[in-house]
């Protein structure tokens, strides 16, 4: 172990690798910032640049883009309600509200701190316990995945705002939207109206950009220009009590994110939704969540970062990608003539440990980069909205185009933008819609597989203990309030920040 670490540091600390690690995390931050361009696209488009590098250097840089994007994705979610990454959708709920109250600096700072803590936590687990976690993850077959998706859907109640029925209605609409496209099991084209672009389904990143970014711009035009938020630099810094409130959410987010991230295919978006849902149940300030509570930023941001790192557990130990971006990274391994698989740790110790150590270094760089930048980024809100919003529109549409180099994405953003405006106008909750759209394909896949495994009998769930435990958690999460009311209440934390509502 110690030998491996020393080997890792020797590899990662060469000037060349340090430089490219920095370039990677910086490029990642920028790519995360841009709407539409997520880490998957970012790694894919920058892959050709690294072809002449040493494999370890190339992978250090590409991985830097990956986790750097997790940091960058937060910035525009908080400032402009424009999630740069799908895993930052949840962050807009409280982050944007904080920004509108002049606490953007604090929101960005806690996101950076939470991301950092979660990253370090999950990296230590990744280094020490990757093989056992990978073997545990293999126990999650279709039946267990089905229960995880139900757990994800159970968090809908946390995102529904005033009326749970609206939340459920929007989540059903999201699930329905997710069924558009070619059904993977039978190849049936559903609701595609003979449009080839729809065969792969309604692309949710584009929907997300439309709903959140374009919808918000249009809604702001209707509301009318507000005075730019002018705050003194001091007020942009995070306060001691905000930090204290964030400890629990960061811890819970990190653990949840790591566990979900280990499972191939679940991804950091689901982790951020579930972490927020849990916070809505257990946080002492749960009643403020949704109105700009710092817990609502700390928890999902920690979870998505922990999950992003945990994605490397199956990737490095089994050669099975944990998510979309790690799949592209695995493709990169092959391009450099490396065969990712169960033997990678033995056959390429220098590469694997160098890469893992570079994650530590990269995350330190990101923290150092992001903490002082947070208040500076927050100054962006001083730009008059008259100039800011046309540029937001431009960036949103060009970002959408660059996902698949296809004008179809641009049209989806436009349509979703119109829909987002009306949803905001009539107070229809958007997060459950996005949740339904994200979970829909995964839920349907797990459901189809479970049904096929049981030869039509879904009750085979009962013979899978892990699935039963997860389902019990889902019930707790969904029916929590009624159960919690039976318990003695915690006294809400009265020394909280002035809520301003």
């Amino acid at each position: 172990m110690i030998d491996n670490l020393i080997l890792g540091f020797q590899t990662a600390l060469t000037p060349q690798n340090l430089l490219w690690c920095f370039v990677g995390v910086l490029a990642g931050t920028v790519i995360g910032l841009l709407p539409g361009l997520g880490s998957t696209t970012g790694v894919a488009v920058l892959l050709p640049l690294t072809l002449d590098f040493e494999p370890v250097t190339a992978l250090i840089m590409l991985a830097g883009i990956y986790y750097g994007a997790q940091y960058g994705g937060t910035i525009t979610s908080v400032l402009l309600s424009t999630p740069g990454e799908a895993s930052s959708v949840v962050t807009t709920l409280d982050g944007y509200q904080m920004a509108r109250r002049g606490r953007a600096g604090a929101a960005l700072s806690i996101a950076a701190i939470g991301s950092f803590v979660a990253a370090i936590f999950s990296l230590i687990l990744l280094m020490v316990l990757a093989p056992p976690f990978a073997n545990f993850a293999l126990k999650f077959g279709p039946v267990e995945n089905l229960s995880i998706m139900i757990l994800g859907l159970a968090t809908i109640v946390s995102f529904s705002g005033e009326s749970r029925i609206r939340g459920l209605a929007m989540a059903s609409a999201g699930l329905l939207l997710a069924t558009v496209g070619m059904d993977a099991a039978t190849g049936t084209a559903r609701f595609t109206f003979d449009n080839v672009n729809l065969l792969s389904g309604v692309p949710f990143v584009e929907v997300m950009i439309g709903l959140f970014a374009v919808g918000e711009v249009m809604y702001q035009i209707r509301v009318g220009a507000a005075a730019p938020i002018r705050t003194r630099f001091r007020e942009l810094l995070i306060t001691r009590s905000e930090l204290r409130r964030s400890i629990g959410p960061i811890g819970r987010g990190s653990v949840l994110g790591f566990l979900l991230g280990c499972l191939p295919g679940s991804g950091s978006t689901l982790a951020s939704f579930i972490a927020y849902g849990v916070e809505k149940r257990v946080s002492r300030n749960r009643s403020q969540l949704g109105q700009g509570a710092i817990e609502g930023v700390a928890s999902p941001e920690s979870a998505n970062n922990a999950a992003a790192n945990a994605n490397f557990v199956p990737t490095l130990t089994l050669g099975i990608p944990g998510g979309g971006t790690t799949a592209v990274l695995l493709g990169a391994f092959t391009i450099y003539g490396l065969q990712p698989g169960p033997l990678l740790f033995q056959s390429q110790p220098k590469l694997v440990w160098g890469l893992l150590v570079s994650f530590f270094i990269g995350n330190v760089m990101l923290l150092v980069l992001n903490l002082p930048m947070a208040p500076i980024f927050a100054q962006m809100l001083r730009i008059p909205y008259a100039y800011l919003y046309p540029i937001i529109l431009f960036t949103s549409f060009v970002g959408a185009y660059s996902i698949d180099n296809n004008m179809f994405s641009v049209w989806i953003v436009f349509v979703a933008g119109v829909a987002g405006y009306f949803m905001k106008l009539y107070d229809l909750p958007m997060a459950p819609l996005v949740l339904g759209l994200v979970i829909g394909p995964l839920f349907e896949k797990a459901l189809t597989q479970t049904s096929a495994l049981g030869d039509g009998d879904l009750l085979i769930v009962l013979s899978h203990p892990i699935a039963l435990v997860v389902l019990a958690l889902a019930v707790l999460l969904a029916a929590g309030p009624s159960l919690v009311r039976l318990l003695p209440r915690n006294t809400p934390d009265r020394e909280r920040e002035p809520a301003g509502v």
Binding site: D52, L318, G337, D404
Partner: protein, 327 residues
């Protein structure tokens, strides 16, 4: 050796970058050899109908780099047009009919997509240039499985339920299972997955009993002793040292061989001169180290075919596929 190739790719990639930065002003490309009647003007675009990092992307970029090395002065940019299991990319390619400055790294989706879904194209709408090689599948089981051969699996399926994982309705592995059923009377109970990686995880976690995967997808698991190969659904055994001991299905009495091809197509309606140019360039590519390296690192069986031979292969393969898919 390998390092050299990587360097070459890098130089090629770097020059592509430079050229893109300068726009399309760089007109003349000098084509070597006998196809002097046609030379691509400006940059050529390789349209990859799948996302970056996958098998199609890998093949597109390798062929692009190889063609650039084979024809001095040729510049090929690679563009990913992902979506609809390849349908978006192929449809975009269809819109380039008559334009010899576009190429596409083709595979079995070219045949399977039109058979299964309503799309605007089929393989006759394009100009087949080259088939590089064949990617067969291996039947693999977890190491703990009692089966040693494909015949064991077939017999087990006649006696009771055998759960096989497949990656989609039109996928290569599903076709192979269907052909096996048609050849032997076996019955595999299929659980649908969406990719080779998902199947790997399900095999390792013992959620399914057998799957049929490309050698490149499982070779590391075989080396690590996590999975066992029962047979190769190929005409002849592999020559790669790590695969040469795997018997073919036919040796075990299961007469099934079906491969996913990897090749190159140009848009339909291009001039004869352009077609000849690309076929000649492809012939040079296949003989190059780059092609050898691509074939070896993806564990393909090298079976190069060009032009009309490739078209004949597509006709034959299409008939077989439509029978297997029951269309």
């Amino acid at each position: 050796m390998k390092r050299n190739n990587v360097l070459l790719t890098a130089v090629a990639a770097a020059s592509v970058l430079l050229l893109t930065a300068c726009g399309t002003a760089n007109g003349q490309t000098s084509a070597g050899g006998d196809a002097a009647t046609f030379k691509p003007k400006g940059n050529v675009t390789m349209v990859v109908p799948f996302g970056a990092g996958g098998g199609s992307d890998n093949s597109g970029r390798s062929i692009a780099a190889g063609l650039e090395a084979a024809v001095p002065g040729l510049k090929i940019n690679t563009e990913n047009r992902d979506g609809g299991s390849g349908a978006v990319g192929y449809s975009y390619f269809l819109s380039k009919t008559g334009d010899p400055n576009y190429l596409l790294p083709s595979e079995t989706a070219l045949l399977a997509l039109p058979l299964n879904t309503k799309v605007g194209f089929d393989y006759t709408k394009f100009t087949p240039i080259m088939k590089v090689g064949d990617d067969f599948t291996l039947a693999v089981v977890p190491t703990g499985s009692p089966w040693k051969t494909c015949a064991d699996a077939v017999n087990a399926s006649k006696a009771g339920r055998v759960v096989a994982g497949v990656s989609g309705a039109t996928s290569l592995d599903n076709v192979v299972f269907t052909l096996t059923e048609q050849a032997t009377g076996a019955k595999f109970d299929r659980v649908p997955f969406e990719s080779g990686e998902e199947l790997l995880a399900a095999l390792l976690g013992n959620q399914i009993q057998v799957a049929s995967l490309n050698p490149g997808e499982v070779v590391e698991q075989l080396k690590a002793g996590k999975l066992r190969a029962l047979c190769a659904f190929a005409e002849k055994r592999y020559e790669y040292p790590e695969l040469k001991d795997i018997p073919t299905a036919k040796e075990q009495g299961v007469d099934v061989a079906y491969a996913q091809f990897r090749g190159l197509i140009a848009p339909g309606g291009i001039s004869d001169g352009a077609r000849t140019f690309w076929i000649d360039a492809s012939k040079k590519f296949v003989e190059s180290d780059k092609a050898q390296q691509y074939i070896a690192s993806n564990y393909l069986q090298p079976n190069a075919l060009f032009g009309d031979d490739f078209t004949a292969y597509l006709n034959e393969n299409n008939d077989m596929l439509s029978k297997a898919l029951g269309k």
